[in-house]
């Protein structure tokens, strides 16, 4: 693997720093524009301070096939509130004015990017301060669509691996991966089943036999204790549905966020961060 095929970004620097600290990282996921574009921006601006080491921002899509009920609903709330891809990029620009260190990863599905235009998207994403992309419905078989152009543009393209990704297939999946590898710890959709830490440990070890990239684990991690268990065996724990659910549970009858929603989300982020940071002590 040549170095230019693995762009250096805030993601790579962050994982190097975490390694030096001897701890795992916390990756948080929230959907851009949920429950409204303004409230969403407000929450995201506080999330690094609350303890998120890396930030995943979901690009809402009408048909999120790999997501469970919590994230599906968040996507629909955001779209209903008028969220668009340009507005998602706008939130990242605002964030970058305040914080130029915390890595930001956009996560979503290919169609909105395809319609925006791949080249234009990569230019605008990089300019906005985005470090990496996770596009759920672009497996290595379709790497020409976005993965290779993203690397060319200096962004990390992060691949998902699943329990169904066997040793024969793993080399193909990690070939153009950079930033980190995202291990989907369950065979299922986001926020449903929970993974067994022992099995996750074995799976992470298996992935490490195929790549020297950091391994983050997600899908099904909901509590600080679960995050701590994962942090013992992986380089980062990803939490999404549980955070999104806090937003879902704190809205008035018109769907607007209730006062204190932001604090509740950040409180959970803080508790998750404590779990992850204390895991290896």
């Amino acid at each position: 693997m040549t170095t230019e095929s693995r762009p250096e970004t805030r993601i790579t620097r962050k994982f190097a720093a975490l390694k030096a600290e001897g701890r795992a990282g916390l990756v948080t996921f929230l959907t851009a524009g949920d429950p409204t574009p303004e409230a969403s921006e407000d929450i995201l601006l506080g999330i690094a301070e609350a303890g998120a080491d890396l930030i995943e921002i979901g690009m809402p899509f009408s048909d999120p096939m790999a997501d469970g009920p919590a994230i599906q609903a968040s996507s629909l709330r955001a779209l209903k509130a008028g969220m668009t891809l340009p507005k998602t990029l706008e939130i990242v620009r605002s964030f970058r004015k305040k914080d130029d260190d915390t890595p930001i990863i956009l996560m979503g599905y290919f169609n909105p990017i395809y319609i925006y235009g791949v080249d234009r998207f990569l230019t605008d994403a990089r300019e906005a301060g985005i470090d990496g992309l996770i596009v759920v419905d672009l497996p290595p078989e379709e790497e020409g669509e976005l993965c290779l152009p993203a690397i060319e543009a200096g962004l990390n393209f992060i691949y998902l691996t699943a329990p169904t990704t066997d040793d024969k297939r793993l080399p193909k999946v990690v070939k153009h991966a950079s930033g980190f590898v995202y291990y989907v710890s369950i065979t299922g959709i986001t926020g449903t089943k929970s993974a067994d830490a022992g099995q996750v440990g074995e799976a992470v070890a298996r992935i490490r036999r195929h790549t020297d990239l950091p391994v983050a684990v997600g899908f099904g991690i909901k509590t600080p204790d679960q995050a701590a268990e994962i942090a013992k065996v992986a380089d980062a724990a990803v939490v999404g549905s549980a955070l999104v659910q806090v937003i879902a549970d704190n809205r008035d009858e018109n769907g607007a966020p209730l006062p204190g929603t932001k604090d509740k989300v950040l409180e959970l982020v803080g508790a998750l961060a404590d779990g992850v940071r204390g895991a290896r002590n």
């Binding site: 096939m65 629909l76 078989e141 691949y159 169904t164």
Partner: protein
């Protein structure tokens, strides 16, 4: 685009028809898709597999379906000779069973013990529930909540056949959401489950595999027309939702230059109103449900729901091979409104004593537009791909009948 030597070789080995098709699925599904592809590559070259398929086609489905000269309609139009390919006479009342037999035989070979499917109008759901009963496999059918309400007779049939119906409330509760939910089920039950997709769409190898099963329609038509008229038809017409009955009729004729091929999309209230399901005539290319194809979508790339009087055409996408055939110009794609389809439904019922489904009523409405101006020796074949029993309540409602 210059003319190709053959239109029948696609897709390429990565599942693409030029830019259309492909395998745009989450990693969790990818190994499954590759497993299906491997099994399909073996089965399609295995004589024993096709022998079994053909045996079921003949003795269980009742094929070949007749090619029928609709004399009264031909007289009524006063122009071209109109033939119906009678796929509504198949067991379960539509072309869908051709595909479900093919796929369940594959599932059996792969040792899968549980079947899932999505359905819109319920025809594919019924065809899947039927073959699951036949082969003794548990069956879960995902159906949008809206469709569960408007297609009640098919819901009852599926339940009687032993299928579990899961009403889908996610998204907008129609066919596209049912397909999302079926894909989510598949991701969650990777070990034992086979997903029987109902149309020639989805990730490779589904579009090609479903087409190959449905080609029985076009192959029979060719043979029957040679027998009856001693030559090929001049025009073949079929309705298009996902497009499986149309690709099944068209594909065997793609390299016969003299045969004019016409796909009929649902224009709903009219394409100009935005309330339609005409992906090719009113959409643009995008990526959904594992393939790149023409889709109904917003300027921001969000998928929008279509509208059609026919639940079976109510899908915001279309099989990728149709997208490619449109771009090459080999097939002409037109559209028909709800109102025109309703008129054709009544015309067919009264003139021929055949109650057609609302889906082929769209195809017949286009026949009614072109047949009068064509010469009397012009041979039209229209695929009567489903019977209308499921639609009689809905049509009665539209017509204000008691």
């Amino acid at each position: 685009m210059s003319k190709l030597n053959t239109y029948r070789e696609g897709p390429d080995e990565t599942g693409h028809f030029d830019i259309y098709g492909g395998r745009y699925v989450a990693e969790t599904l990818m190994p499954l898709i590759l497993e299906v592809q491997e099994a399909w590559d073996k089965a399609k070259n295995d004589v024993a597999y096709w022998d079994e398929f053909n045996r079921y086609m003949k003795h269980y489905v009742g094929r070949p379906s007749p090619l029928y000269l609709a004399e009264r309609l031909t007289d009524h139009f006063g122009g071209a000779k109109v033939y119906f390919k009678r796929d509504e006479l198949n067991h379960t009342g539509a072309h869908k069973i051709n595909n479900t037999i093919g796929q369940i035989l594959l599932a059996k070979r792969m040792g899968k013990g549980r079947i899932i499917a999505e359905t819109g109008a319920g025809q594919h759901g019924v065809a899947t529930a039927t073959v699951c009963a036949l082969f003794g496999l548990p069956c879960v059918v995902y159906m949008g909540e809206t469709d569960v309400k408007r297609q009640r007779p098919n819901v009852v049939r599926m339940k009687m056949l032993g299928a579990e119906i899961v009403p889908v409330t996610a998204g907008t509760g129609t066919l596209k959401d049912a397909m999302n939910e079926a894909l989510r089920d598949w991701v969650s039950n990777v070990e034992d489950t086979f997903y029987i997709i109902g149309t020639a769409a989805g990730p490779h190898p589904y579009p090609a595999m479903v087409r190959d099963f449905q080609c029985v329609i076009g192959n029979e038509t060719k043979e029957q027309m040679m027998e009856m008229e001693g030559r090929l038809p001049d025009t073949c017409i079929a309705a298009i939702g996902g497009g499986s009955n149309a690709i099944g009729l068209f594909h065997p004729f793609l390299d016969d230059d003299s045969v004019n091929l016409i796909g009929v999309e649902a224009a709903g209230h009219g394409i100009e109103t935005g309330e339609h399901c005409a992906s090719l005539n009113g959409g643009r290319p995008g990526v959904l449900h594992g393939n790149r194809t023409y889709l109904l979508q917003t300027e921001d790339g969000q998928i929008v729901d279509g509208h059609s009087i026919s639940a079976g055409l109510d899908y915001p996408g279309i099989g990728p091979e149709h997208s490619w055939l449109r771009d090459t110009g080999r097939v002409n794609y037109v559209s028909i409104t709800d109102k025109e389809a309703l008129e054709a439904f009544q015309l067919c019922t009264k003139k021929e004593g055949i109650i057609p489904a609302l889906e082929p009523s769209h195809a017949l409405a286009h026949v009614a537009k072109i047949a009068p101006d064509l010469p009397k020796d012009h041979l039209i074949v229209m695929n009567l791909c489903g019977r209308g029993d499921k639609d009689v309540d809905a049509v009665a409602g539209y017509l204000g009948m008691d």
